[in-house]
């Protein structure tokens, strides 16, 4: 059995081992480029701290961006969609059952009557 055989997808193929070899080669090139850089910065001084327009670094807890602040723009851009879809998730068992039974009824019409 050939362990490294590529997966044929009917359209193209996917050979992870070859991909990994390319990835490792690229990583080595990147490492070599990185090695040519200067390592003159001094650890533990201001050179290791972030540049915040010259201001002092705030408390550790204050600079972490919490989950709710991420993807605000995405949610705002799709506001119409989210305003429609989120209220459907009511958390009420009766609604869940109505959806279930309604889907069953729709499928019955499609399969039983239309086809």
């Amino acid at each position: 059995m050939d362990l490294t055989a590529p997966v044929l997808t009917g359209y193209g193929m996917w050979a992870p081992v070859a991909w990994l070899a390319a990835f490792v080669a690229a990583t080595i090139v990147v490492y070599l480029l990185w090695k040519t850089g200067e390592s003159s910065y001094k650890k533990g001084t201001e050179q290791g701290r972030p540049y915040l327009s010259g201001n002092a670094e705030p408390e550790k807890g204050a600079v972490h961006i919490r989950a709710s602040n991420l993807y605000w723009g995405f949610l705002q851009a799709l506001k119409g969609y989210y305003d429609a879809i989120v209220p459907l998730h009511t958390g009420i068992l009766t609604d869940y059952m109505i959806w279930f039974v309604a889907v069953t009824a729709v499928l019955l019409v499609i399969v039983g009557v239309l086809s």
Binding site: M1, G61, I65, R66, S68, Y71, L93, T104, V111
Partner: protein, 525 residues
């Protein structure tokens, strides 16, 4: 007969019998000591997994295995005096069943190992382990059985045990509420299934799947039964718009249970595929039913992932992703079903789409189980599931972070992890069927990555927060449980073709080949 022969011959019965026996003796053993109980359940799980692997090996090397309960020999499906009807309960383990059993064995073992440590602080663990082993019994039974009423029985065992475990961490009644929702919806679904079974029994005088398949006429009653089964089983596997119970149940259950609930959902998915491929196959209108499954799949993918992005509870977010990933399986297999009657299209891309969908079942069970276990490890250490309260855990929980990265990249379909292999198979074969569907699938993958970047950033990145300064790495058994799944995610990502050849392709063939399934049960007459 030696012990080895006995185990090999009776392996289909043993995979159900061992966890069932261990489950009901667990409370008694628990009276002795906690260590004895842990050894007992872990031993039972390991033995069950070993037997499942023996059975799967037998199936993949020699073909479908049937096991007839109470017959003189295990392969005598049809008694001579029964008028050609297989009246006994029969387990029919074909390649698809064996495939599902391998998933259940792997995830069950790693999750149980994880529970030994994650649940160790809780009370009434006898009940926990008993119900957990009952879930394992239910999944093994559902995927092995060749008898439709028996399928219903195992479905109910699984639902009851799952509901009990979802409510296990009472959590001021929230978990109980989630369990109640799950329980009532499951019961409604089970009633649908039972009603469909009644229709088959009334028409064809048979409960055996192969027998029903052979006599299938596709009358109006059969259409009703088909719809009831598709709706009930799609609801159980969490397809949109019947997915509402999944975030509730998945987020309130203990993480180890959630990881196994993924497998339980996939057992229902297996049931759905078994119904449409083995019982109906080309007697029904494959295009209509195929498109119904495709549309359910696309809805699940899109709604699942878009609902995941704004979530603030880490497990609720992952539960919506589970809904979304189930959509991929439904899409792949639905495309395979839609072109089932057309031999040219099937060989061109339909079969590849089915293989992609089935391979995704395996991959999903591994990486989603892994992600839920990492979420559990975080909850175990910091005691909250609220993403807004987390941050900087990567400084202390390094291994958990690495496992989370592996799982997150795999679910987003980033090479070289296993999610990419199966998703690529789905994309490219579905593209030949309908390009728009493939594009939707890719966009959903991108959104999945976006959503997991959010989780990764808000949980692990950032400076070490003062409130979590003394958080430690998760305990060793939990890391081992996660490590097993992570290793499989990488292994299957690097070497997908042997897995496709050995497991996935036979499973897809077994699913599509209705006459082979019928012949393996009724061929002897």
């Amino acid at each position: 007969m030696t012990l080895a022969d006995f185990i090999v011959t009776n392996s289909p019965a043993l995979v159900v019998a061992i966890p069932l026996f261990a489950a009901f003796t667990c409370p008694a053993i628990g009276r002795i000591s906690a260590v004895a109980r842990n050894l007992w359940v872990m031993g039972a799980m390991v033995v069950t997994a070993a037997v499942a692997f023996i059975l799967a090996f037998r199936v993949f090397s020699t073909g479908t295995v049937i096991y007839v309960f109470g017959a003189a020999a295990t392969h005598l499906a049809v008694p001579l005096d029964s008028g050609g009807i297989p009246i006994r309960i029969i387990f029919t383990v074909d390649a698809m069943s064996a495939f599902m059993e391998i998933i259940c064995a792997i995830v069950g073992t790693s999750v149980l190992l994880y529970s030994l440590s994650s649940e160790s602080k809780n009370t009434s663990l006898e009940g926990y382990y008993a119900l957990f082993l009952l879930m394992i019994t239910g999944v093994f039974g559902m995927v092995s059985t060749g008898d439709f009423f028996n399928f219903f029985v195992f479905l109910e065992i699984l639902s009851l045990a799952s509901a009990g475990l979802i409510a296990y961490r009472i959590d001021g009644g929230l978990a109980v509420e989630a369990a109640l929702k799950y329980f009532i919806l499951s019961t409604l679904g089970a009633i649908f299934v039972l009603f469909a079974i009644g229709i088959y029994y009334g028409q064809y005088d048979a409960l055996n799947i192969a027998m029903i398949a052979q006599r299938m006429q596709f009358t109006m009653l059969d259409k009703i039964a088909l719809v009831l089964l598709v709706a009930a089983l799609a609801m159980k596997c969490g397809a949109v718009p019947m997915h509402f119970w999944t975030p509730d149940a998945y987020s309130m259950a203990p993480s180890s249970v959630t990881a196994f609930l993924v497998v339980a959902s996939q057992a229902s998915l297996y049931g759905l595929f078994r119904v449409v491929f083995t019982m109906y196959n080309i007697t029904m209108n494959c295009v209509t039913v195929g498109w119904i499954i495709i549309i359910l799949g696309v809805l699940s993918m899109v709604v699942g992932v878009t609902m995941a992005i704004p979530q603030k509870d880490i497990k609720r977010l992952m539960a919506y992703h589970a809904v979304s990933q189930t959509g991929y399986m439904l899409l792949g297999v639905g495309v395979g079903l839609a072109v089932l009657g057309n031999a040219t299209l099937t060989s061109a891309f339909g079969f590849m789409a089915m293989e992609g969908g089935i391979f995704h079942i395996f991959n999903h069970a591994m990486y989603k189980g892994l992600l839920f276990l990492t979420a559990g490890a975080i909850f175990y250490r910091i005691g909250t599931r609220d993403l807004n309260k987390m941050g900087g855990l990567g400084h202390t929980m390094k291994y958990t972070m690495i496992f989370f990265i592996i799982g997150a990249l795999a679910i987003a379909g980033i090479p070289p992890f296993n999610g990419f292999a199966s998703k690529l198979m789905i994309y490219e074969s579905v593209y030949l069927f309908n390009p728009i569907l493939a594009i939707i699938a890719m966009v959903v993958s991108i959104l999945t990555l976006a959503s997991f970047v959010k989780v990764f950033h808000s949980v692990f990145m950032g400076p070490q927060l003062p409130e979590y300064a003394d958080v430690k790495e998760a305990p060793l058994p939990m890391l081992i449980g996660m490590g097993i799944l992570a290793a499989l995610v990488i292994l299957f990502g690097l070497f997908p073709q042997p897995v496709v050849d050995m497991l996935v392709s036979p499973a897809a063939h077994a699913l599509a080949d209705q006459s082979g399934y019928i012949a393996s049960v009724l061929g002897g007459t």
